[in-house]
């Protein structure tokens, strides 16, 4: 699945020059000099690096809206900008406390980037963030049960096969692989469509008050995402089995 980098009509916060932080909410005392900090990252008084606000979600950290179509190039640029602000390389000569903040901020940043960079992880994170559903476990699509049972049989047969029989099961599994990749690509397309749908529903705040339409969209995303993870796993399993003999 590849939702990005095609540019959608929707713009990220960065393009608009918007800040998704509410100035009032970000006010807090500096850990170092205790004067009030207004700037997001550094104290305007003593320039000490500040810890992230507790519960800053990944979308907010990157100053993006709660959108699923993200321009990866913009995301990367923002990641580099923030890395240059936080990275421990630049805090070698500061106090131990500031070094620790730099380390924790960078760790949080890299985790956020890793999640947002990958369209599926991004979607799973949004689902979790909205608190609509819990985790997104891998689950087999019900309509594919029979096919999947057959694949398991083929996998077992290949493992037990003598060298003369191998070719036969390999051919069968190659066909299975193609079929599963097809299903996975279809799931990817569905996820892509759902991402566009979500972005059109204009969710600006994560406050657990969603319209039915928004709720349904999240539910459907979760369902397809579970299938997709499952299909990913089985494709990988078949590939490994084929690699082992081939």
């Amino acid at each position: 699945m590849n939702i990005v980098p095609e540019k959608s009509g929707l713009k990220s916060g960065l393009d608009e020059g918007l800040s998704f932080f509410n100035k009032e909410e970000t006010k807090r005392p500096c850990w170092s000099c205790e004067s009030e900090v207004e700037d997001l990252y550094n104290c305007s008084h003593c320039t000490a690096l500040q810890q992230f606000l507790k519960d800053t979600d990944y979308f907010t950290l990157f100053e993006l809206g709660y959108l699923l179509t993200i321009d990866l190039d913009v995301l990367e640029k923002q990641y580099y900008v923030l890395s240059r602000k936080f990275h421990p390389d630049y805090y070698q000569k500061t106090s131990e406390e500031e070094q620790m903040i730099s380390l924790e901020n960078t760790a949080h940043l890299t985790r956020a980037y890793r999640t947002l960079k990958d369209p599926k992880k991004r979607m799973a994170y949004l689902i979790q963030l909205t608190g609509q559903e819990g985790d997104v476990p891998a689950a087999a699509p019900a309509e594919l049960f029979e096919e999947i049972l057959e694949i398991q049989e083929h996998l077992e047969a290949l493992e037990a096969a003598s060298s003369d029989e191998q070719a036969q099961w390999m051919t069968a599994l190659e066909a299975d692989l193609e079929a599963m990749e097809g299903h996975r690509d279809a799931a990817g397309e569905k996820l892509k469509a759902l991402s566009f749908e979500w972005d059109g529903l204009e969710v600006f705040r994560i406050d657990h008050s969603y319209s039915n339409q928004q709720r349904n969209c999240l539910k459907e995303m979760q369902r397809i995402l579970s299938h997709d993870s499952y299909l990913d796993r089985i494709v990988e399993e078949i590939r490994e089995a084929l690699d082992e003999v081939g």
Binding site: P88, Y90, Q92, L103, T110, R114
Partner: protein
């Protein structure tokens, strides 16, 4: 005297050779020894006494490989952070003795003493440190040390320990291919996707990087910490060993000196075959058995190593897949490490990436240069450059049934962290143990055990009530740090760490303390040796002078000198440093007049001679 700027040095602590570099203005510079050699062989040799003050390091130790194979340690990097069970295959081809229990750091036995791999590496680091101090005319106490990208947590920790034991504050552990990319990128101001293929003496790494606006972002890395030039040598050794056994009925495994010789000849043959199509292997056998002689064709050698080279290519493919890239996306390929001089390696890499790989920068020196650049970044010099590296292996914890629950995936950019909540299973339980593993497999038994943690001091509560949040943080060195918090009380939880293959902090502290003690001891021993040499020389001269100048002395003077000589001889035989020093002073004092008289007589004689010659001439 000019201002002594404290330098942070960059060190490439290699399997076969080690190098040290520093930043000279804006260019990295390798520090060479007096004879202009950049590479210090990573070899440490002990004499029969096992005395640490008489340890040889580098070229001098290399000379001992064949004459003292049991006490000359090479390729110790391969044992860093490892246990006995990891090394079964190596044991039979190593002439020195490795000891250790399962699931414990391996130790090297030298006589009665036992050394951990970090302690051996520390000898190499100390040598590099003093080389740098002599060249820079300033103390060196801070360093960036490189490790293979595919080193796991225990191996990184062991490297850091080695630095500490050598008296170096290790500011950063940097991955070798990434360091190489810095040196390469700085030189060329490249942008785009590059692949660094690093095949050294003992390890192989492939790293895929994206360079953009001075940011070096590692996208993925893969490799094998037990695959390198050593293995190519060993492939030859095995062939020779089998043939010698068959043709001459001599078992090299039972003759360490010969085995070592075979290994060294193999290394030489390997190098020869990089430029020639055949080379001759000659090994002298024990007396009366003649010699083993064999012409080895390049093709034959290539057949022996083909499987190993193929393994590196599979790693490259996996790294590309993990980065989500195809061969065509890679703009340039850079070769690092001495083993990339082998034509088969070069050709294979070129074929895989469909382009001629770069090797303009010396593949042996580029890593140390990169380490010096990173050192400069850390000291605030090159602030435009930023390196974003990754952790090579997934990090997880053991859950029910020995299954791994993955917390941080491989190729995650570091520093990074993950949180996990834990609770108790039985009422009133006051501690929870957590097993941290590293690796890509599903079952704990197939992964690398890193450490076991005990969360202690939990308030007694019904089962499942306590909520302890554990934060796993991988720092910029790729080393795991763990902290825990009781979510109910907000209190920090104490953690007891038991690294599986490494040394606990206490053990390292102990070693540093012992090495300091030994340092003092060693110094005293060295001083005594020097004093004894001086005393022997002075005695020799004094006795000679006494004989020559006996007519110049009265009885009292003569007696004084004779007593002083006798006293010094006694002090010397008692090996007492202080008494030797005093005896020396006294003898010196008592012979001063005689020395002066002798001197003037010889001058007089010389002048007389001269006059005679003048007359005659």
């Amino acid at each position: 005297m000019h201002d002594k700027k404290s330098h942070i040095v960059g060190i490439d602590l290699g399997t076969t050779n080690s190098l040290i570099a520093y930043m000279d203005g804006t260019a990295p510079r390798i520090i060479r020894d007096a004879s202009g050699r950049a590479a210090l062989p990573s070899i440490v040799s002990f004499d029969e006494s096992g005395d640490t003050s008489k340890v040889l390091v580098g070229e001098k130790a290399k000379e001992k490989l064949v004459s003292c194979p049991e006490r000359t340690i090479y390729s110790v990097k391969r044992f860093m952070g490892k246990g006995r069970e990891d090394l079964e295959e190596d044991l039979q081809l190593i002439p020195f003795t490795l000891v250790g229990e399962e699931k414990e750091a391996i130790r090297i036995a030298i006589g009665e003493k036992r050394y951990t791999p970090p302690e051996i590496s520390a000898f190499v680091l100390r040598e590099l440190k003093s080389r740098a101090e002599a060249a820079l005319q300033a103390p060196v106490s801070k360093a960036v040390i490189t490790v293979p990208a595919y080193f796991n947590d225990s191996q990184r920790q062991a490297t850091k320990d080695a630095g500490r034991l050598a008296g170096l504050e290790v500011l950063r552990i940097v991955n070798e291919p990434t360091a190489a990319s810095l040196a390469y990128g700085l030189q060329k101001e490249k942008e785009g996707i590059i692949a660094i293929y690093d095949l050294g003496g003992g390890t192989f790494d492939i790293s895929i990087l994206k360079i953009r606006n001075g940011i070096f972002e590692v996208l993925s890395t893969n490799g094998d910490t037990h695959l390198g030039g050593d293995d190519f040598d060993q492939a030859l050794v095995r062939m020779v060993r089998d043939e010698v056994l068959e043709q001459h009925k001599v078992n090299l495994n039972q003759i360490p000196e010969l085995l070592q010789q075979a290994r060294l000849i193999s290394e030489d043959i390997k190098c020869q075959l990089s430029t020639k199509t055949s080379a001759t292997f000659v090994l002298a056998l024990p007396k009366g058995l003649g010699a083993y002689r064999r012409e080895i064709q390049k093709k034959e050698f290539e057949a022996l190593i083909q499987g190993l080279v193929k393994r590196t290519l599979s790693s490259c493919k996996r790294a590309l897949a993990d980065a989500g890239l195809k061969v065509d996306d890679v703009k340039e390929v850079v070769l690092v490490g001495g083993s990339t001089r082998i034509p088969l390696v070069k050709e294979s890499v070129a074929a895989l990436f469909k382009q001629t790989p770069h090797s303009e920068l010396d593949p042996d020196e580029v890593v140390a240069m990169g380490a010096a650049i990173q050192a400069d970044i850390l000291s605030g010099g090159l602030s435009d450059l930023l390196l974003l590296d990754v952790t090579p292996l997934s990090l997880g914890i053991e859950t029910m049934g020995g299954v791994v629950s993955r917390l941080i995936p491989r190729n995650a950019t570091i520093p990074t962290s993950a949180k996990e909540s834990f609770s108790t299973f039985v009422d009133g339980q006051q501690s929870v143990s957590i097993h941290v593993v590293q690796g890509e497999r599903e079952m704990v038994t197939d992964c690398r055990s890193l450490a076991k943690f005990n969360l202690t001091g939990i308030d007694p509560m019904p089962a499942g009530m306590p909520r302890i949040e554990v934060n796993f943080l991988i720092d910029a060195n790729g080393i795991l740090n763990v902290t825990a918090k009781d979510l109910r009380s907000g209190r920090a939880q104490s953690i007891e760490v038991k690294p599986t293959y490494g040394l606990s902090d206490e053990e390292t502290e102990d070693m540093i303390a012992t090495s300091m003690e030994h340092a003092k001891e060693d110094m005293e021993k060295r001083i005594l040796v020097e004093l004894k040499n001086e005393a022997e020389t002075v005695l020799r001269h004094s006795e000679k002078a006494l004989k020559q100048g006996t007519d110049l002395l009265d009885d009292e003077e003569k007696h004084k000198i004779e007593t002083a000589i006798a006293d010094l001889k006694t002090a010397l035989s008692n090996q007492q440093g202080k008494a030797i020093r005093e005896g020396l002073n006294r003898l010196d004092e008592s012979t001063q007049k005689l020395a002066g008289d002798l001197m003037s007589r010889s001058v007089k004689e010389a002048l007389q001679d001269k006059r005679l010659t003048d007359v005659e001439g």
